[in-house]
């Protein structure tokens, strides 16, 4: 009754993949739900059996805002929600564009970025990567 499920925590696994340059997210082996943030069980059907599936990283901006900040504190920045084509949504940002230019419906591509030495999933606009 006291065993830990699997060898490492879901967050540790995600981070290990991202550190290795691979974007893998959990997919429920039963109902197929793509899961983010990582969990020990599927929030739709409760199963513990989750596969770490390679993700193409294609997505669409579901909503977006510009957090206004004084220039001397770093200036304005984008915060958005991206929906991956496989279904998971995440709070993130679109890199390398004017924050005000990000639009709902923009096609975006996931990139492994780093914030405070932690790997995170950010996005770039499809046109910016030429695909």
């Amino acid at each position: 009754m006291n065993e830990i499920h699997g060898e490492e925590s879901p967050d540790t696994t995600l981070r290990r993949f991202l550190d290795g340059g691979e974007i893998r997210l959990q997919t429920c082996a039963d109902c197929g739900l793509q899961i983010f943030p990582p969990r020990v069980l599927c929030p739709r059907c409760g199963r513990l059996e989750l596969d770490w599936s390679l993700v193409a990283g294609n997505g669409t901006v579901y909503s977006t805002t510009v957090v206004r900040r004084r220039v001397d504190r770093g200036g304005d920045y984008n915060v958005c929600i991206v929906e991956l084509d496989e279904g998971a949504r995440m709070l993130t940002r679109v890199n390398d564009v004017e924050p005000t230019s990000v639009q709902i419906g923009d096609r975006v591509q996931a990139v492994i970025d780093s914030v405070d030495d932690r790997p995170v999933l950010a996005f770039v606009r499809k046109s910016e990567v030429g695909s």
Binding site: D11, F36, P37, Y62, S63, T64, T65, V66, V67, R68, Y77, V79, C80, I81, R89, M90, L91, T92, R93, T100, I104, G105, V115, D116, R118, V120, A122
Partner: protein, 382 residues
């Protein structure tokens, strides 16, 4: 057979304290003053309070802090903290505990000194996967919901601004409202952008303030000083914690809390005379009017246009001035109840909605996460 609060208990006392700014007073000082006034309004002594329902943004164990301060010994305590909707949610537990005979005098209360103590704050446990992107919570989450509603339904910034202007016009009729100077749609549109598309004036106030209500079983409520305001139906629902996990940013759990509250009360939206909605941001009012069934999904923007929800309009909303212009000390839900009681008693002065018999209160908690809806009525409605 579903248990329904309908007609079983009533609000017999209301109290406010420190609305606006109360320098030097702690959140517990203000809470206790509001409780004292609510008990005085009801004609009940502090010693009789045996049910305590409270939450705040300071004490993780809020019932212990408030119990100690008041010197009471409640036999029923509910300290559920679901965010600003908590006190509307507490109404159903108070009504249930009273009906079950677990307590006889229930007090729901809240107080905050966030304005004079140094400004608004969010709980420190921000979601781990959101933090690297530095969202400015709670505003950025509500901005994301507003942006999506505008994209999907063509809702305009002018329509959102109309919510703020309507609230201000009500506040101008309420002597205790914090912000009463004139406000125009252009003022809202041209104020400082905080998180697109929400400007400073699309956001609620940051004030001090406290509120308390006293409830009793319906049969005893007849003997109190004030006309009892009956609890007709209460329901809560929740969908998520962080905004990225909200199933649809244009649809809140108010769809569910509202439908259940109406069913339990045996009422429909067209029975409601006055509406008090938790307006932390202008988009809230648009979302809740749609989700509670007062207009169709996507039509909230046009619904609030042309002064419909303002004084003199056909559909009075947030008659105290709301969180946008009256008071917003962090968790506003208790004030929706207090204003509804004033309206149903007929004691709301210049802002009185003539002949109001049924009021709807709606509390919102977290990031459009927790929704609680209550229907209250005069004795004639039971």
């Amino acid at each position: 057979m579903k248990w329904s609060a309908r007609g079983k208990s009533a609000i017999v006392g209301i109290g406010l304290a420190g609305i606006g700014a109360a320098p030097g007073f702690s959140h517990l000082d203000l809470t206790a003053l509001a409780v004292h006034r609510a008990l005085g309004d009801a004609g009940v002594s502090l010693k009789e309070v045996d049910g305590l329902f409270t939450a705040n943004m300071v004490n993780m164990m809020a019932t212990t802090a408030v119990t100690e301060y008041l010197g009471i010994r409640p036999v029923v305590q509910v300290g559920t903290n679901t965010g600003g909707n908590a006190f509307v949610d507490h109404l159903q537990w108070a009504a249930l505990a009273l009906d079950a005979g677990m307590c006889n005098v229930a007090v729901i209360c809240y107080g905050s000194n966030q304005r004079t103590a140094g400004g608004a704050s969010m709980p420190p446990d921000q979601p781990f996967y959101d933090v690297p992107f530095n969202p400015r919570e709670p505003i950025s989450s509500y901005a994301l919901a507003a942006a999506r509603h505008m994209y999907q339904y063509g809702t305009s910034r002018e329509q959102l601004a109309e919510v703020a202007v309507s609230a201000r016009r009500w506040a101008q009729l309420n002597p205790i409202a914090f912000a009463r100077e004139p406000l125009t749609i252009d003022d809202v549109l041209s104020s400082r952008m905080i998180c697109d598309p929400l400007t400073l004036l699309d956001c609620c106030l940051v004030t001090d303030g406290a509120g308390a209500v006293v409830l009793m079983r319906a049969e005893r409520s007849k003997d109190c000083r004030q006309m009892p305001v009956h609890v007709l139906g209460v329901a809560s629902a929740l969908t998520h914690r962080q905004i990225s996990e909200m199933p649809d940013l244009t649809v809140t759990a108010a769809v569910e809390s509202g439908a259940r509250a109406f069913e339990l009360a045996s009422l429909t939206p067209k029975d409601v005379d006055v509406v008090e909605l938790y307006d932390a941001f202008t988009i809230n009012v648009v979302l809740f009017l749609e989700d509670l069934g007062f207009c169709k999904k996507g039509e909230g923007g046009s619904f609030v246009a042309n002064g419909r929800i303002a004084p003199g309009g056909s559909f009075p909303v947030n008659t105290n001035g709301g969180g946008l212009s009256c008071v917003h000390p962090g968790m506003y839900g208790i004030f929706t109840i207090i204003e509804a009681v004033e309206q149903l008693r007929g004691t709301a002065g210049d802002r009185q909605v003539p002949g109001a018999e049924i009021a709807l209160c709606h509390g919102n908690g977290g990031l459009l996460s927790n929704e609680s809806t209550a229907l209250l009525g005069t004795p004639a409605t039971v």
